[in-house]
Symmetry: C2
Subunit: 218 residues, 2 copies
């Protein structure tokens, strides 16, 4: 039985996982009959954003607890998961990847990946298990795996792509309905809402990403 | 240009809108090239549930603000919307329908629909505009439109169906991949996570519901 992790980072595009990207990832896994294991680190969010006004509010929320909303409660603390537990993992996008899984949103070239996330991604890479990343989440891969010259896409945002290259990554432009595959490092990335415009368009790229990951596991 | 409302009730199955059902509804609308207008009432949630532990926590959150997470900020206060603004509306499920849009989760036979939601649903019904409801949300329609003997489904949960009948509704059993249509009242309902088991199964019923609603508008 193939089991693929979905690494979440909260619940909502501005301070957590992008909800549409996360659900479309889970839908694509379900369609292929693949078991999913939702995961998140048990840490406080960097911030909480009012998604109506766009303003940061003085509240604190936990990444694992909020991610459980997307997972309908079926979620595991990343700290208890090792590469041996999964056949592959996929990281949806949203600012949570750049605020909680890493500090890319604020640190730029000085980005650090959260130690638990870094430990897990390095384990998966060493075990040659496929890793997918959507939207801005490839920035986390670029930083964590920069020493291995990973090939990724975040669409066509060139200033952001330059930052990823400063980590050691190679960036390839890619349209919303397509994917970039790094066979050497076993990575698959797609731009999704880095380009948009809508659910139907991003679903095309996410479906391709999930199919590619599953074919690499098989 | 057809524009269909998606009436949200928060963000998360246990105290708001069921996220998967909401996103699948938006995906199906997108696929058919239909504009969506996300809506929610500007009210406090009945409660806030930690979706990891399942416990109610001492926090307050606003239905419109939390719904904005699913809508990526593109959402309108229900109070400013009348039937003239939309061609149809769809209510995803989740406990938010039974805790925020109504008090069905706690009041049973004495259920009241929130006045703003009741005003809007009666306007839509009077204007003969189609209304879709998913999962437990048909309970809101049953109460709001009970005087018109609406035909709905919530799957095969007979005690809950009996409650809906006490409001004046007629209940019809329905599998997860199908819909029940009330041509007279222009209502379409599907069980989704009242039956489950997974995203792919509930997507089949939600796709049919959205297609039926769009065909009734056309």
């Amino acid at each position: 039985m193939v089991e693929i992790g979905v690494l979440l980072a909260g619940c909502g595009v501005n301070d957590g996982s992008e909800i549409h990207e996360a659900v479309l990832t889970m839908l694509a896994l379900d369609r292929l009959g693949v078991e999913r294991l939702c995961l998140a680190p048990d840490i406080e969010q960097r911030d909480v954003v009012n998604h109506l006004s766009g303003e940061v509010i003085s509240e604190s929320r936990n990444v694992l607890v909020e991610s459980a909303r997307i997972a309908r409660g079926e979620i595991s603390d990343l700290a208890g998961i090792s590469a041996a537990d999964l056949d592959a993992v996929i990281l949806p996008g949203g600012f949570g990847a750049a605020k909680n899984l890493s500090d890319f949103a604020v640190a730029g070239e000085q980005t650090e990946v959260h130690p638990e996330v870094l430990r897990f991604l390095l384990e998966m890479h060493k075990a040659e298990k496929p890793i997918g990343a959507i939207c801005i989440a490839p920035a986390v891969l670029a930083r964590a795996l920069g020493a291995f010259a990973p090939l990724v896409t975040i669409g066509n945002d060139l200033p952001t792509a330059k930052l990823l290259e400063s980590f050691g990554a190679q960036h390839q432009e890619c349209p919303v309905d397509d994917i970039v595959v790094d066979q050497q490092n076993r990575l698959v990335t797609t731009p999704a809402y880095m380009l948009g415009p809508g659910l139907w368009e991003i679903a095309a790229g996410i479906d391709k990403l999930v199919s590619q990951i599953v074919s690499m596991v098989a």
